[in-house]
Symmetry: C2
Subunit: 381 residues, 2 copies
């Protein structure tokens, strides 16, 4: 397994060195005559700028604002790599821009930030916001990401979504809708153990709570999040209201009798032994990247009824790429300026509905499924 | 003439409404298989990010940084339209990005800013600078543009150029080198009247002074810039040192006996009568946009030996597009982080040299001349 990741890494380094950038700018027409230069640039373009100055609401009708999205990161929480800084995060952001273009036809490009406080990030993004039709926040560490997204949503009139939070929450909910079908569980009756209380974990817990009020026990690196903990930030504290359990303990303690394990934490924290203590037909969503909390074969060997990871080389890839292309496609096309909780739940239901006959190895569609983007975009209104 | 500009405006509005954005993002390869997703995105991309985190100097080798430039404006001094704000400036910035791509193969994209003080602009651009291989500042009003460019050049390690200043200065110098050949004048002996003491005017005066120390009389909307004026900003005050004349007066007063008129001001400020008071074989560079300081036919009728404008529909188009694509091409390819005065003079000489036999209607090459970019890029080292 590790050697397979090493292989991907080696191949990725080679390919990236060859391409020297995965994205480029292309032109919808070539300014190759004096006539075209006069139309696309001076003097003709002056009429277009004057028009927008007089009718600001028409900016989208004459520029690429109707189809562009900035992928913005400060490089503080990149994949499993942590705080590697803005420029080292660029390959990931270019990759995200690729997915935007390939899956949704959206002109996305990376903006990486050399500032890291919530105030600085918000101030910077607001200053450049007139350049974009939408903003996909990416790989910004918790808890700063919460304040950044909340303020930008409030203060800007374009769609803003922190994908690590909401993209993840949507695809986890989609996967659980179908995993419950496969196992005959009722999500609202389930005991869920969620490990990883960063950006993704908090958003997953909030959306699951909103959708079905299951019993959610959140666990972080210090153990079960309970009312006696004095080290919790506001967001983690909010999770307490979703948990009927208030006992302390380890992940293993939390998992006793649990129906569902959701991991957005780190490699190999879940053991076969722990799975064996869970309820019958447990569901394992192990999304740590690139190495999941437990390998699928081990989870199945320990009795898991359904196993999903974030990886494309295993069945059941619960990956944000199922959601964000369609969400932004819909927001841009339908001029939706705020992605709401209702949008997120509807998107999860749409994703789940695209699997006609869910089974243990098919709880979500492939990220390459061409029905995804139009189906999700249609409900972002 | 005005109706021709109206025609361009009408056509531009139609074309822009049709294209809805002149630029787009394209992909160097499609992430259309699980294998490619694993190479360009997770898990493979993690190895590329790790590599750059360890070797920051290699970021250009694995990302589009080696070929991208941000076209950044706050929309405060756009074409002849003035302070129309960031979003209304977008069509111009997209147009500039088109020229970058078409002429130099550079992946340029617009960033328009909703902040307008020098401090805010510098802070914002520094915050997003890790996203770019170079920065083309565009249409930022004087005197703020001077401080912004100076500070960014000092504080960033990528090439930064305010094109309204230096692109203009380079092409004006190039045009004068050949116009002097055509008229038999010595630039160092010339009396030059320069109207418009904003970003472009100041930079033009500085570069001409550096190149040949001609007698330069600068004129702004209040008349000749002289030592008795108490309303001058630092940059305008600096122009005083380039002028042997210190008398006060109007543009007409300044032009008595002058060899060269350079206009970077506004439509129709130069009259036939004024040209008739200039020295023999006067040179008229009338760059106001879109309507020049005098129409070429009027200037010639009044005795001008050489007339140039910024427009593509007249002979002698003295346009920044002659210079900036090659300058940034060279800076990116040769890893030049500072565009120096020596670079600017050398670029002007290269541009002038591409006209084998200068005559009254051919003092600069066409902006469509394919020799321009490689020739200029070669001397940016």
């Amino acid at each position: 397994m590790y050697s397979r990741i090493m292989d991907y890494g080696k191949k990725a380094l080679e390919k990236h060195a060859l391409l020297k950038g995965k994205i480029a700018i292309s032109l919808k027409d070539a300014p190759d005559t004096a006539e075209k230069l006069s139309t696309y640039y001076t003097p003709g373009v002056g009429a277009v700028s004057s028009r927008i100055a007089e009718h600001p609401e028409e900016a989208r009708d004459y520029t690429w604002l109707n189809n562009n999205v900035a992928v913005i990161s400060d490089g503080s929480a990149v994949l499993g790599l942590g705080n590697i800084g803005p420029q080292a995060s660029l390959p990931v952001m270019e990759g995200k821009a690729m997915l935007f273009k390939h899956f949704a036809g959206i002109d996305a490009f990376p903006i990486v930030l050399d500032v890291h406080t919530a105030d600085e990030i918000v101030t910077t993004i607001k200053a450049i916001a007139p350049s974009f039709g939408g903003i996909n926040l990416e790989d910004i560490a918790a808890p700063i990401c919460f304040e950044v997204e909340e303020r930008l949503k409030r203060e800007l009139d374009i769609p803003v979504m922190h994908d690590d939070q909401h993209g993840t929450a949507i695809v986890v909910l989609a996967s659980l809708i179908n995993a419950c079908k496969v196992t005959g569980k009722q999500l609202s009756e389930c005991k869920i153990v969620l490990i990883g209380a960063g950006a993704a974990g908090v958003a997953v817990a909030k959306l699951l709570h909103l959708y079905a009020q299951p019993n959610i026990i959140a666990v972080d690196s210090k153990g079960i999040i309970n009312i006696d903990r004095t080290d919790l930030n506001d967001e983690k504290r909010q999770l307490l209201s979703f948990s009927k359990q208030t006992k302390s303990g380890t992940l293993a303690d939390a998992l006793l009798g649990a129906d569902i394990f959701i991991g957005v934490s780190r490699a190999n924290v879940l053991t076969k032994g722990m799975i064996k203590t869970m309820s019958k037909n447990p569901i394992i969503i192990a999304m740590a990247n690139p190495v999941p909390e437990i390998m699928p074969e081990d989870a199945r060997a320990a009795g898991a009824a359904v196993v999903a990871t974030g990886r494309s080389d295993f069945p059941n890839q619960v990956n944000n790429a199922l959601a964000f292309p369609g969400i932004f496609r819909g927001a841009l096309d339908n001029r939706v300026t705020t992605i709401t909780d209702e949008h997120k739940i509807a998107a999860a239901q749409v994703i789940a509905s695209l699997v006609e006959q869910p089974d243990a190895e098919h709880i979500v569609p492939s990220v390459l499924d061409p029905r995804l983007v139009p189906a999700i975009a249609a409900i972002i209104r």
